[in-house]
Symmetry: D2
Subunit: 413 residues, 4 copies
Amino acid sequence: MGREQLLREFQRVRAFTEKLCQPLAVDDYQIQSIVQTSPPKWHLAHVSWFFETFILEHFKPDHAPFHASFDYLFNSYYYTHGKMQPRPERGLLSRPTVEHVMAYRAYIDEQIRKLINQVDEKAWPSLSNRMVLGLNHEQQHQELLLMDIKHNFFINPLRPAYRDTLVIPAGATSPMHWFECEGGLYSIGHQGEGFSFDNETPRHSVLLYDHRLADRLITNGEYLEFITDGGYTNPALWLADGWALLQTQQWRHPLYWEQQDSEWRQFTLSGLQPLNHAEPVCHISYFEADAYARWVGKRLPKEEELEVALEEQKMIGNFTNTDLFHPVPAKKDGQWFGDLWAWTCSPYIAYPGFKPLAGRMGEYNGKFMSSQMVLKGGSCVTPKGHTRASYRNFFYPNERWMFSGLRLAEDVA
Amino acid sequence: MGREQLLREFQRVRAFTEKLCQPLAVDDYQIQSIVQTSPPKWHLAHVSWFFETFILEHFKPDHAPFHASFDYLFNSYYYTHGKMQPRPERGLLSRPTVEHVMAYRAYIDEQIRKLINQVDEKAWPSLSNRMVLGLNHEQQHQELLLMDIKHNFFINPLRPAYRDTLVIPAGATSPMHWFECEGGLYSIGHQGEGFSFDNETPRHSVLLYDHRLADRLITNGEYLEFITDGGYTNPALWLADGWALLQTQQWRHPLYWEQQDSEWRQFTLSGLQPLNHAEPVCHISYFEADAYARWVGKRLPKEEELEVALEEQKMIGNFTNTDLFHPVPAKKDGQWFGDLWAWTCSPYIAYPGFKPLAGRMGEYNGKFMSSQMVLKGGSCVTPKGHTRASYRNFFYPNERWMFSGLRLAEDVA
Amino acid sequence: MGREQLLREFQRVRAFTEKLCQPLAVDDYQIQSIVQTSPPKWHLAHVSWFFETFILEHFKPDHAPFHASFDYLFNSYYYTHGKMQPRPERGLLSRPTVEHVMAYRAYIDEQIRKLINQVDEKAWPSLSNRMVLGLNHEQQHQELLLMDIKHNFFINPLRPAYRDTLVIPAGATSPMHWFECEGGLYSIGHQGEGFSFDNETPRHSVLLYDHRLADRLITNGEYLEFITDGGYTNPALWLADGWALLQTQQWRHPLYWEQQDSEWRQFTLSGLQPLNHAEPVCHISYFEADAYARWVGKRLPKEEELEVALEEQKMIGNFTNTDLFHPVPAKKDGQWFGDLWAWTCSPYIAYPGFKPLAGRMGEYNGKFMSSQMVLKGGSCVTPKGHTRASYRNFFYPNERWMFSGLRLAEDVA
Amino acid sequence: MGREQLLREFQRVRAFTEKLCQPLAVDDYQIQSIVQTSPPKWHLAHVSWFFETFILEHFKPDHAPFHASFDYLFNSYYYTHGKMQPRPERGLLSRPTVEHVMAYRAYIDEQIRKLINQVDEKAWPSLSNRMVLGLNHEQQHQELLLMDIKHNFFINPLRPAYRDTLVIPAGATSPMHWFECEGGLYSIGHQGEGFSFDNETPRHSVLLYDHRLADRLITNGEYLEFITDGGYTNPALWLADGWALLQTQQWRHPLYWEQQDSEWRQFTLSGLQPLNHAEPVCHISYFEADAYARWVGKRLPKEEELEVALEEQKMIGNFTNTDLFHPVPAKKDGQWFGDLWAWTCSPYIAYPGFKPLAGRMGEYNGKFMSSQMVLKGGSCVTPKGHTRASYRNFFYPNERWMFSGLRLAEDVA
C-alpha cells in the first residue's frame, strides 16, 4: 500500500472508531458490565496503545510515551511485553478521563502520520505491514465496542438505547435452501496478497465428506419452536458442560430476549423491541446452537465446510456499512456473509504448519487455541471489508454477548 | 425550627454536597471500587431519593415522581419500601448521567422548597422533624462521599488527587495524658431538644468501673513501632477472625500505607504523601486497633466510657470546616472530637428500651445491630455540627476505608 | 481433687466419649459435612492431642509423641503452638484410621494415668488444674460429637439414625410463666472453688433494668405460628445480616425441619420424626430467634439477665444423663437448664477485667470475642455436670447446627 | 460371546475390582479429595448400579432394586435417567457402609449370573452386547479407582502408601527414535468384531501431512530441563488459559513432584519416592505437555497421527497386568501402548457420521464433546485388554490426576 493510501485508510478507520462513540455520554465510557467486556474508553485507548507499542516504539527509537502509566493500563494480554491492569478491573478506572484518552488518540494519530511520512523506503514495507495489522486490530475493537456497549446498556434497568431508530427491512425470511457439497479434497486458509491474520495460514488441504449446508441462518421464529418444545428442559439435547451451565445460569432463552406478559421482546442497540420472527436468532452460545441442531436432527457446520462454501459466495451482506447494527431476515439469494457470525462445530486449533507472528505479536492469536470454537462469516457489527472466507473468529462455547447465530449442516448419507 | 431557618439549612447542606463534588470529572462519578463504596453519582441521587420518598411522597399526595425507575435505582436498603438495584452493581450504571442526576437534585430542591413554604401549620412539626432527619442523612452521605472518593482514587494506578494541596499543621503531637474516671453509675444516650438518631436513645444509666482513657489518638509513629515489633506476624495479639483475615488479605499495615524503598507513604485525598509520624493512625480495622491495644498492654474504650468522657469535652475539633479532610496531630488540650472516629470495644446493640422509628424509617439504624462495633467522636470528613457525644457510628470489625482511629483505655486496678 | 478421684473422673469422661461413638460404623468416623463440623475421628484424636500437648509435654519433659504428624493433624486452632491441618480439610483424611486413633487414645490414657500416679506433690496442684481443664475440654467435644454426627447424618439422603428409639415424654408443654426481676445492681461471673473457664471471670457487678424472663423455651407449635404468619417473608422482622442470609440460603424454617405433603417432620438423632408441637424449637440461628421475638413483641434476654435468673434455679434438666439427646416439653416448674442453649441478645465480649489463661492456653476462649453471641443454660447433648449459671457458650448469629433454642424476655415499663 | 465365557469374564472383571481395593482400610473408602475424584466406595457401587440399571432393569421386568435410594446415590451423570447425588458431595456419605456396598455387589453378581443363565436365546445377543459394555465400564472405573486412591493419599499429610514395594526395572531409557509417516489419506476409527465405544466409530478417512512421531514418551529427566530452563516462568511458551491457571495454582512442576532440599521426589502408589529420571514424566496437564513441546520446538501429535501409528504397533506394554501401577522407562522397541496416556493436540469431538448409543446410554460419551482433549494409548493403570489403537480417552486441558504423559511430534517440511 502506498503512503497516501495508508494515510487515508488510517484516517478512515480511526475516525470510524470515534464516530461509533458519538452517541455515548461521558458517563457511558466507564462501564465494564462483565469481565468479558471492556469500557468504551479502554477500547479507545488500547487500540492507540497498540499503535504506540508495536509501531511507534519499534520504528521511532526516540519515541516519547504519551504517559508513563498507559503501557500498564492499556496492555490487553501481551504478557511477554509486560504487566497490565487486571482485566476484571478495567471498569474501576475513572482516570484517565475520556478527555485525556481523546488527547492520547490525537497524539498517536499525529505521531503515526509523521512516521508514515518520514520513514525511509527500506523500513516502509515492514511499517506498512504492521500498520495494516494495527488497522485490522482497531476494526476488531470497533466490533467489540458495539458488542460491549450493547451489553453495558442491557444490564442497566433503564434499558437505554444507543441509537433511536431501528428500521428493519419488512417482509419474511426466504425459505431455507441447502447448499450441497461433494466430499473430497479441498483447500482452505488464506492465500493471495491481501491481509490475513496469522491463524488463517497456511493454506492447506482438507478432506470433506458429502454434506449440505443451509443457505441462511435459523430465525427467531424457528428458535422459538425449540423453546416451546421444551428445548431448554431436555438434557438429552445438550452437551454436558452446556447443561450444567444452563442449570446454574437459569438459561431459558437467548441472551437478550425477555417475555413480557406473553409477548417476546429482545434488547437491541435501539432499546427493547418486539421480537421479529423473521430475523436470524442472535446472541446464542455454542451450547444453544448445538442443542438446537440436535433437536432438529441436523448438526452445525465444520469450519472447513463453511470456509469452502464461503469461498464460492460474493462478499456482500449486512456489515456496519448498512448502519443497522442489527441482523436482518435472509433474502432470496441466501445469507452467507454478514448479519451474524455462524457457530461451527470446530474447536479453534492451529492449522497444519501454523506459525504465529514473530516476537511479542505472537501472542495475538495462537495462545487462545484451547477450549474455544470457530465462528465464521462476519456480522452486522463487523466493519465492511474486515472479514473474508478464511477469517477465523473464536469464542468460548458459553459466551453469548457477541453477535452469534446458527447455521445448520447435515451429512449426506 | 422555623421555615426560614430550615430553608437556609436545607440550601446550605444541599450546596455543600455539590461543593464536595466540584473537583470531580464526570468520569469520577461512576466508580464503585468495592462493594462497600458507592459511586458519587449514586450518593447524589440517593439523598435526593430520600427526600422524595420519605417527605415529598408523604406530605404531597399528588407528588409526581421525577422518574419511574429512580425509586428502584436509588433505594439503598429499605426492603419494606420496595425492591432495589443490587448493591454490588451500583457502579455498573452509566445512566442516569451525572447531568440527569443533577436535574433530579434541582427538581427535588424545588419541590422541597415549595413544600416548606406551603405546608399547613398542623403538618409543620412533623415535616420539620423529617426534614432534619433528611439533612442529617445527607450529611452522613457527605462523609461517605469523601471516604468513597478516596478509595476510588486509591485503587487507580494513576493515584489521582482529589485536591492538590495538603497543608498539615507542622509540629509534633502532644504527649498522651490519661483521663481518669471513677467507677459508678452514669448516664448515656441522647437527651434534650436537639436532633439525634433513634439509636442514641433512650438515655439510660450505665455502670462504669474505674478506668482511664487516653486524651489523644495513637499516632502513625507509635503504630509503626507495633509493625516493626512484628505486630502483624504474631497470632497471640489477634482476635481469631482478625488473624484469619490478615492471612487471607495479606495485611501488613493500615489500608492506605505503602512502603517505597524504605520510606513509608500514605495515600491521601491529595495523593500519595510521606507518612507523618505525628498524625493519628488512620484507616485501621477493629482487629488492628484491638491488636495494637493488646500489644501495648491496654484495651480499647467501651462505648459508655467514651461517651461519658466526650460529654465533658468541648465540641471542637478537626471536622470538614477546617477544609483539611485529613487528620492532624493532637494539640495540647487533647484530641476528643474530630480527626478520626475512635473504635470502641463495644458491639453495636440496642440501648435498653430502644424503639426504632416507626414505619419504613425503622430500617434506618436498628436492623444493623449485629456483628458491628461502635465508633465515636467524628472525623475530619464529618460535617461540623453533625456529631455529638451520644453519636453512635458503626462498622464491621474488618472494615478500613472509613476514617477510623485508635484511642487507648485501661482499667484502674 | 485427689489423685484417686481424678483418675476415676478421667476414666469416666474418656469412657463416655467412646460410648457416644459406639453406634457408629467405621465409615461414619470420616465425615465432615460442613466446615463447622469435624469428623468424629478427629474429635477423638483432638481431645487426646490436648492432653498430650498441654499436659504430657508440659509435665513429662521426656514424653515421646505417639506420632510425629499428629501435632499437625489434631491441633485445632492454637496458632501460637504451631501449624495445623486446614479446618475445611479435616474430612479428607482417611489416615490415621479409626483403629489407629483408638490406639492413640489408649496410649494417652496410659501415659496420663502414669503421670497422675507419679507426679510429685509440688506439681500436683498445677497438674490437677490442667487435667480438669482437659476433662472439661473433652466434655465440650462430647457435645460437638453429637451435634456433628446429627449433621453428618442429616445431609445423607438415606437419613440414617444414630440410635433407633426416641421416647419423648408424652403430654403438652406447661404454660409460659414470667419470671420477674427488679432492676438494680447484681453480680455475675463465676465464683467459688469449682471449675470455670477463663471467660466466666472475674465476677463483677452489672446493672439490670426491670424486666421479666419466660420460664420456658418457645415450642415448635409456637414457632410454627410465626412461619404461618409469614415470618420468613417479612423483612421488617429481621436484622439486615439475617435477611440477606435468609435470601441467599432460602431459609423457610429451622435447620432440621422439612414438610412432606402438609406434614412437618424434623430430623433427629433417631432419624426423621413427626414434629412434636410441644417440644422447644431447636436448631435456629440468632437471626431466627431475634425475628421471632420481634414478631411477638418481645426481645431476647441479655446474658446478665439470664445468668442472674439461672443462679436462682436448681441445676436440674435434660442433659446427656437422660440418654435422650433430644429436647423435651417444659414441665410445670419451668425449663431453665438443659434441653437447649438459649440465645441471648448479648455479643460475646470480655467481662471487665478479663484475663485469658497464660501462654498458649490463652487462645482457648478470648480470641473468639468478636461477632459471636452468648448462649446459656446447656442442652440435652451437654454432659450433666458440665454447665453452670455462669457458663458462656458462643456461636455466630448465622449458625444453626448446635442445639439452640429461644427464650423470651421483655422490659417492664 | 458364549454364556460360559461371559460368566467367566464377568467373574474375572468383578473380582479384579475388589482385588484392587484389598489394600484399603474401611476408612479409605470414603474420601473424595477433589471434585473430579470419587470415593472408592462410590466406584464399587456405581459400577454395580450400572449393571442394575442398564441390564437388570432392562432385561428383568420384575427386578427388585437392592435399595430404593441407590439409584439416586450411584447414578453418575445420566440426567435422562433421573436425579442424582451432586458430584461434589459424593465424599460426604458414610452410608451405605462399605459392608453394605459389598452386599450390593454380591446381590448384583448373583442377579447377573442368574440372568445370563436364564435369558432366552432371542434376548441373548442384546444382553451380551450390553454386558460387554458393562464390563468395559467397570474396567474404566478400575483405572479411576487407582487414580483416585493415589490422589486421596497424596493430599494426606501422612502420605500413606497404597502398596509397600515399588520395583521399577533398572536401567536408562532407550534413545528417542522418530517414526516417520508420509502424508496422504488414511483410515481411523474402530472396525471389526471386537468391542469399542460409540465414540470410536465410524471408521473414516483422514488426511495426514508428512510428519514424524517420537517412539517413546518424554522422561522426567528431560522434563526437568524444561523446568530448569524457566519453563514455568516464560509466558511465551503457554496457551493463555494455561498461563492463567499456572499463576492461580502456582504450578511449578508436575502434580506429584516435590523438592526436598535439592532432591526431587514424586508421590507414587508406594508413597514418596526419589524421582527416577529415566521414567516418563507423568501427571501433567495438556497445558504443560503443550508448553514443553513448544519449548523444544516440536508439537504434540494429532489424534489421527497417533492412531495410525498405534495400528502398526503390537499391543504390548505396561498395563495393570505388570502389577506395577507405575510407568517404566522405554525399552529398545519404543513405548507405544501402556505406561501413560499420551496427550494429543486434538480436541475431543465427534467423528464424521458419529451416532451415540440409543436411549439413555447415549449420555455415555457424546455429551462430553466440548473443551476436552483426546489422549491415547493406555497406561500402567489401564487393565490389560481394555484399550486399543482407536480408543479415545479424554480430559480437560487443566487436569492432572490421571496417568498422562507426553509424546512429541513434528511436521516434515
